[in-house]
Amino acid sequence: MKVAISVQGNDLSSPVDPRFGRAQGFLIVDTETDDFEYVPNPNVSAASGAGIAAAQMIANKGVSAVITGQIGPNAFGVLDASGIRVYTGAAGSAAEALEAYKAGKLSATGSATTTPQLGVGPGWYGPGRGGFGPGRCCRGGPPGPRRGGGPW
């Protein structure tokens, strides 16, 4: 089974990065062998939706769980939709967090643990606003009519 740990360095001795969407990178660890792959996070300074993009990247790595400090609602929505369990509150080194996870000392969160850092910070949206959940499109509904002339 594979898990992803948000980290501030590139190996198991690196400290856990408390942020998920804007973590410096992720260790994708095989829990049987402790073999790991380091993936830098290209979304550290994304203008918006860092959590969504990071969650999508991690989901496509085929992991079953994410270990991090805090998680926002958008990223949680993506991971949840992919059936990935999210363990928050991890601290110390990645190796310690992995041990805590294996020993069942971390608990899976059923929801976001922080408000969305929506977008790009003050000026655009202002910090700390929000409370948006993920929007699902066309759940079972028929496709919308194609509007002439494009959307804009």
């Binding site: 918006s48 977008g119 000026g123 655009w124 993920p134 499109c137 066309c138």
Partner: protein, 281 residues
Amino acid sequence: MVISVGSGKGGTGKTTLAVNLAHLASIEDEIFFLDCDAEDPDSHFYLKPEWESETDVETPIPRIDKERCDYCGKCSEICPRNALAVLRDDVLVFPELCYGCGGCALSCPMRCVTFESKKIGSVKQGRSGSIRFYQGLLEVGEPSPVRVIKNVKENIQENSRVIIDCPPGTGCALVESVRGSDYCLLVTEPSPFRKHDLELAHQVCVKLEIPHGVVTNRSNGHDEIIDDFCSASSLEILGRIPFSREVAQRISRGELLVDDEHLKRHTEHIFRTVQRRCSFN
């Protein structure tokens, strides 16, 4: 001729100045007044327009046809706002991040992205004497007022005289509001915080190449912090509004300063100076 009134931060007196200037300008001829502070418009408390019409502001949000989607991820790759997450067998859309650029639809090889519109605000139009009043209003919970501001500004007619009450801050909303102005008045106060905000707003105007000057509100005779900054940055101070109980009382009652014989001269002085700076006739 378009004059915008901005500041780096809320609560400095933008609206106070804008509505009083609008009143003075409307004595001579018809004027357009645009309240672009769409997150919290309040100019109507002072100018008291009679509302005539209201139009919705909509933004397109993508909708994915999952019958045809093969989850290739192209749409999410191109999205500048990370508003789409493509998973193995699902595409999640985060409408509050999408700004409707249309890139996802263009890049989708299966042509399965269509758009539906979502109301994000409205533009109200009214009249108060010879003031043609437009107000942008963003729906609660919507993150960005930019599209609402754009729609408000579409009402500007060529060769008309326009005063714009800008939103606070120095972000996209301010940029959208002051863009295209002939002159921008930056309202500030004699305090270190306001000086800091003024500095940022000044930089925005410099970048957008909009001539601008400063009005010091709540001026208490010790305005050195602003005066020094302005002289160091070659910024003109067009006038001052005194820190006084009468001003505060009138504002709290929704009254104009220009209706008071004593307080009138400060705004008149500012108005005449702006007129000279940008031939606002």
